[in-house]
């Protein structure tokens, strides 16, 4: 067995990286490839998380009819989730998995819907107004989450039912969550990478670089922008849902602009706009730095007269400022689009000749 503390740290960092990687990929799609600065990334992320915080719990509440026992999913959340839901899910693996899949699909749909809503201003406003408007949209959804019982029990928050309660070994259960999160991130990376290297991806870049030219070639700007916002919103919604499942609770106050809009922006800019590998590097570097300070803060605390948690963001923001000034294209800059190799083109030409 490897050093167990090292193992625990790795297990802690991987899902954070995976979840932020999905968020950053969606932001990169919007801004890096299409040139739409979405300063309301929090909107879809919070939407996805709120779905996970409410839908599976409410479904189970009706399924097990806890209301007949005088209990309420929100009022008696902790008791209901731990003693009734998780005990029930423990003996029903198939139901747990289908509930998980259903909830994630709903989170994706919620994200897509919110992406569609944000496309309304995005098609009409310029960068600066758009930034302020989308930021305000995100604040609205979080304010609703904080102030009302629905969807996520206001400031008290909800505990998410454990979809993997049927795995008896606690360690294994953790590993399964980490594995599934990373696997989904990998699949999304492959999909997005495929997407941006396709002719469709090149259209997006054309729109970003020269709107008028793209229009001249008959590309419908409105349609592309709306669809990309919906797709990116769906990804962010999924990331929000996965985050809620990983931390196994949803607390609306935790969904701040700083955590889910500004930090992703920083990661994307540091990593390199319009370069998915760069995004991965940026996400990993930032997340490892942030998580390690969070984990080791008690060790460093004795040497410094203030709370160390804030030291890393301070340092990272200074690094980012230098990068903005001296290397605005990021650690790994955008590369020219990969086209077919010379060999491939010759082969196609030959096959065409043969046909003639």
């Amino acid at each position: 067995m490897v050093d167990s503390s090292f193992f625990i740290i790795i297990r802690d960092i991987i899902p954070w990286v995976a979840i932020y990687f999905i968020i950053n990929l969606s932001l990169n799609l919007e801004f890096g490839y299409l040139g739409l600065p979405n300063f309301g990334k929090l909107l879809a992320v919070a939407g996805g998380a709120f779905v996970i915080g409410s839908v599976p719990g409410l479904i189970l509440a009706y399924l097990l009819d806890i209301y007949a026992k005088g209990l309420d999913y929100y009022e008696d959340n902790n008791y209901v989730v731990y003693t009734i839901f998780n005990e029930f899910l423990k003996s029903n693996p198939m139901l747990s998995i289908s509930l998980l899949v259903l909830s994630l699909i709903l989170a994706i749909l919620a994200g897509a819907g919110l992406g569609f809503i944000s496309s309304y201003p995005a098609l009409r406003l310029k960068e600066d107004y758009l930034g302020m408007t989308l930021l305000a949209f995100a604040e609205i959804i979080v304010a609703i989450g904080i102030n009302y019982k629905y969807p996520v029990n206001g400031t008290i928050g909800v505990t998410v039912p454990d979809f993997f309660a049927w795995i008896n070994d606690a360690n294994l259960r953790q590993l399964v969550v980490v594995g599934i999160t990373s696997f989904i991130a990998l699949v999304i990376f492959l999909i997005v990478n495929r997407f941006v290297n396709s002719p469709l991806g090149r259209v997006l870049r054309a729109i970003r670089d020269n709107e008028i030219l793209a229009q001249t070639y008959g590309k419908d700007l409105v349609k592309y922008r709306r669809n990309v916002l919906i797709f990116a919103g769906a990804l962010a919604g999924l990331a929000g849902g996965l985050f809620a499942i990983y931390v196994s609770s949803v607390l609306a106050v935790g969904y701040t602009r700083l955590n889910f809009t500004f930090i992703p922006w920083v990661m994307v800019v540091v990593g390199g706009l319009a370069n998915n590998i760069g995004i991965f590097v940026g996400t990993t570097v930032f997340m490892v730095a942030l998580r390690l300070t969070d984990i080791y803060k008690s060790y460093i605390a004795s040497y410094l007269p203030f709370d160390v948690t804030w030291f890393t963001p301070l340092l990272l923001s200074i690094i980012l400022t230098f990068m903005l000034i001296f290397r605005p294209s990021g650690l790994i800059p955008e590369r020219p689009t990969r086209t077919l190799s010379e060999k491939e083109i010759v082969r196609i030409l030959n096959s065409l000749k043969n046909k003639q």
Partner: protein
């Protein structure tokens, strides 16, 4: 004695006006919406916290200090980050990211300072309110009279400065057309520096007064930021004095409208305090993309046309 609901509405409106005037100033000059305006407000508020908790003085004495300190902080950011970026021809999104970085920097900085203060002086640094040092004068809380006086002074001074002094006219010229203004010999850098200084300084004042309205924590200004944006947009981002009517509308909708709705219709409206201004903002953006300033400009140009 006026209705306390109206009094609070006016008070919040005036805080909003201060902060959004600051935002509009930098927007007019460097054309970037400052995502960090909220942190300027928090910084100002913490100057007040230091005054009250450590020095045991009324935060109102520290208005000039907050004005200067936060002004210098904002000025420093312009000189160190925005100016080099502008020199390299950065586009608006890059500038927006720079202000977003400042937000992360300021938030961490404020948290570090706050935790340092709390460890060194054994004081509580979150959920601090200045209300305990407030007192009644002529039937009004002193903070209310103070903010009223400060606002009137600032608006008069700013108005005269922008319309009557040489520097103010140079500033307006730089706002209208920066390159043309520099051809005439106006020092654009000085104008921008001043705008950034004043932007921070006004938010610093707003920060001190914020403590008399709500308790202060390290995210106080960041929570208030969407309201500042809403006011600026409602006022028409290109109009400095458009923020005055806009601030009143936002302040009254935040306090008077929500509490009246809660009292007479349903309690369900009470948490909408922060949401109603944002809804108003969204409607304004969709119907009149130029805000209130745009409407007045529309009327003015139409009148002008009729006369000729």
């Amino acid at each position: 004695m006026i209705d306390p609901l109206i009094q609070t509405s006016i008070y919040v409106s005036l805080i909003t006006i201060f902060a959004s005037m600051g935002l509009t100033l930098t927007y007019l000059t460097t054309k970037v919406p400052n995502f960090s305006q909220g942190s300027f407000l928090t910084l100002g508020a913490y100057v007040g916290v230091y005054a009250q908790e450590v020095l045991d003085k009324s935060p109102l004495y520290f208005l000039p200090i907050s004005f200067l300190l936060v002004g210098l902080y904002s000025f420093g950011f312009y000189k160190l980050v925005i100016k080099p970026l502008l020199k390299r021809g950065a586009n608006i999104v890059l500038l927006m990211i720079a202000t977003l970085t400042l937000n992360i920097f300021s938030f961490s900085f404020i948290n570090i300072m706050a935790s340092y203060l709390s460890q060194k002086f054994k004081i509580s640094v979150t959920y601090v309110t200045f209300k305990k040092t407030d007192f009644l004068l002529l039937g009004f809380p002193f903070s209310f009279l103070a903010i009223l006086l400060t606002t009137i002074t600032f608006i008069v001074v700013l108005y005269f400065m922008l319309t009557k002094t040489k520097f103010g006219i140079a500033m307006r010229a730089a706002i209208e057309n920066a390159s043309l203004a520099s051809v005439v010999g106006i020092n654009i850098d000085r104008v921008y520096s001043f705008a950034w200084f004043l932007s921070g300084a006004l938010s610093g004042i707003a920060g001190i007064f914020y403590g008399y309205y709500q308790s202060i924590d390290t995210a106080a200004g960041d929570k208030f930021l969407p309201i500042i944006f809403a006011t600026t947009i409602l006022g028409g981002v290109n109009s400095l004095f458009g923020t005055i009517p806009a601030g009143l509308i936002i302040g009254f909708s935040m306090i008077w409208l929500t509490y009246s709705l809660a009292r007479y219709v349903s309690l369900i409206f009470l948490p909408l305090q922060f949401i109603i201004p944002l809804i108003i903002m969204s409607i304004v953006l969709i119907v009149f993309p130029n805000g209130l300033g745009g409407i007045s400009q529309l009327i003015r140009t139409n009148l002008f046309k009729k006369q000729w």
